[in-house]
Symmetry: C2
């Protein structure tokens, strides 16, 4: 199956796949943001196979502890409750008690068991969840097919825009959809940054393949974005597959497994790029391609290091084709480099070839960098491996914002 | 021997030890800085044992290639020539030819052989050294015992202040001195950041011990500072020991070996802290102590990660005791952490104890953070290992500066 058969859905979101409803309300947790939704629920009309990926941070917020335990026991659930404003992290044993109560509150509302509900929180670290507000808030939430957009807004923290995406494709002769929402604008770095990604599909998918497909998609999307180098205690990606499309359950050897993988990756990349584009204070998204690497991991490592370099980010902010900073970041990334084989392009203007600087027309390069999307391409000339990472520029606004706001 | 016998020298600098002369001039390379010295020479009246530490960046500037080859052949030299304004990095084969010519120019001036001269450059990457200016400039340099201060200024790039230090101590019954100068304000990160450190001593020191003592001192000083996470192609630390104090050559088993080690570390820490304090756009130095770590390397790793966290740096800029960001940075540093054993102090105000948040008096903590030196202490409760790292706050000025200036 070809990727061109993957259709991007207009206004695609987490409730685009069949059988998913969502809702959200303002419980009173998010006191610092003009967006006044802060508590949301996702519900599937039928049980779902579920897979999850979690932060690599050694300090892990309570909801993640609960979800990881859950998925170790059984890879299924039917709902999700998520709040913004408070991360439910670093608050001792009360954290897990509160996460469990959030699951119970959603279960009661939806006539499910608590063990059918996944939980997520994002916001300030080190203060307890105001459960009294959450108890009242849950009751007000109205579930609807149209409310995926509200859930996208309810998980925003410092995000300027909600992040939603959806695609459809054919699997086993049936039309299936994959949709999702994300949040994240700061504390964003490879390996599950302060990032929530919730995905749904109406495809029927075997648990092992769903986990594998999610891991691969996350590795090439969410794990390839960086805003400020800081990962969080609360990052996670979850996918719910309810099987309502009626296909035979997908496994790794299904004819359409590859199409499903690509479609899931498409949704994840769209959501991840929206996070990079919405980086706190940023004006521009930076796409870094590293090709010709000696290994896939080195390509990834180099691309992420360049995309995350403070000096590259500030140069992009200033429309400065300062390729020396790209080379310095590449050099410290730890990957194998032979300087005589190294070439470098900024917006496809060659600035270094075979290790030698090229006398490029700087004014034109500066002009090209005024676009909202900047492309940096590094060719290592050592092998066939390639990777793409996304970051954003760093602005005075980023510093102002993070100096004034207690995350 | 006790450390209290180490005396800090008033106005100590690279020419404080006996037999060292220095000089500097404006050759015309440094076009962007009000400090108009950009070419300097260090000379010892007698041959020196020399040791060096070099950047871990995979892209290495030509002077470092030359010096590394030099020290592999023989650990001795008698002079150093250094320029700022141009890094002599990423310019192909011409780089090594120019570095060799710089050594020859200094050798001719000082009646030495080219192989008696070490070479250093710092500044913009990717443009060739204007050798015509350097040829003329070298001739103008006047060598003097008093001109260590000029050499300190000649290696400045974005530095706001020259960085100099010196101590004296007794070795083998003789008074010996150790002095040094450094530069560096941006592209500063552990493992030899954009940093030059030149050290001298009139102690007689065996080559193997000099190398070992330098490595240890650099590991606990220059390698524990971070400004912006970017390491450079040009970082190095060199020490010249000319033996004019008349002591029997120091080895690792000498009675005063430990005193020499401590004195060298004292000089290196003073210079390294000046680099952190002078971080581009920064107002404050941040000292991060990690104690109770399960291993020494983990203590170092955790301290450096916290000191380098963009979110910690912006919080310090805003006088915000946002300890959640410290915990998040600690968690992603990769070191072993048990959250129930974790305690955290900001300016010795406890904000977390045994993994539980403490309801501290926030206004007082904010007030304490208005000082120019901020202390963050993390106690892991897992072992006996400890490390200290230094960083600086991140300001709007940092972004403005690095958006406008081609390094």
């Amino acid at each position: 199956m070809q990727t061109q058969q993957i259709q991007v859905l207009q206004s695609g979101t987490i409730t685009s796949p069949k059988g998913f409803l969502a809702g959200a309300t303002y419980a009173g947790l998010k006191t610092f943001h003009e967006e006044k939704l802060d508590l949301g629920v996702l519900y599937s009309e039928s049980p779902c196979v579920v897979a999850g990926m979690f932060t690599t941070n050694r300090i892990i917020a309570a909801p993640l502890v609960l979800n990881k335990e859950h998925l170790q026991k059984r890879p299924s659930a039917q709902a999700l409750i998520a709040n913004s404003g408070c991360a439910n992290a670093c608050v001792g044993p009360q954290g897990l008690a509160d996460a469990k109560e959030m699951a119970s509150l959603a279960a009661k509302k939806l006539s499910l068991k608590p063990e059918d509900v996944m939980v997520a929180s994002t916001g300030i670290i080190g203060v307890e969840l105001p459960m009294a507000l959450i108890r009242r808030g849950v009751q007000r939430i109205e579930m609807s097919k149209d409310n995926g957009h509200l859930l996208a807004r309810a998980i925003m923290t410092t995000d300027r825009r909600p992040k939603e995406a959806g695609v459809s494709l054919e699997v086993d002769g049936k039309v299936v959809a994959i949709g999702g929402v994300s949040k994240g604008a700061g504390m964003i770095h490879p390996n599950m940054a302060t990032m929530l990604g919730f995905l749904t599909t109406d495809a029927a998918v075997e648990p092992a393949f769903l986990h594998q497909a999610l891991k691969e998609a996350v590795d090439d999307s969410y794990n390839m974005i960086t805003v400020d180098g800081d990962t969080s205690t609360n990052d996670m990606a979850l996918i719910f597959a309810n099987g309502q499309a009626g296909n035979r359950p997908l496994t790794a050897t299904s004819k359409d497994a590859e199409a499903f993988r690509k479609a899931l990756l498409t949704v994840c990349i769209r959501l991840a790029k929206e996070i990079a584009r919405d980086g706190e204070g940023s004006d521009k998204i930076i796409q870094v391609t590293v090709e010709g690497a000696a290994s896939g991991e080195e390509a990834r490592q180099a691309a992420r290091t360049i995309a995350g370099s403070t000096l590259v980010k500030t140069a992009v902010h200033g429309n400065d084709p300062n390729w020396g900073r790209v080379v310095a970041a590449l050099g410290r990334s730890g990957v194998r480099v032979e300087d005589t084989k190294l070439s470098l392009y900024i917006n496809e203007i060659c600035t270094m070839d075979g290790g030698m600087p090229i006398a490029f027309y700087k004014d034109a390069a500066v002009q090209s960098m005024k676009e909202p999307e900047i492309f940096i391409r590094v060719s290592l000339g050592l092998g066939v491996h390639k990777a793409v990472a996304w970051g954003c520029d760093m602005t005075e606004e980023y510093v102002r914002f993070n100096s004034e706001y207690t995350t």
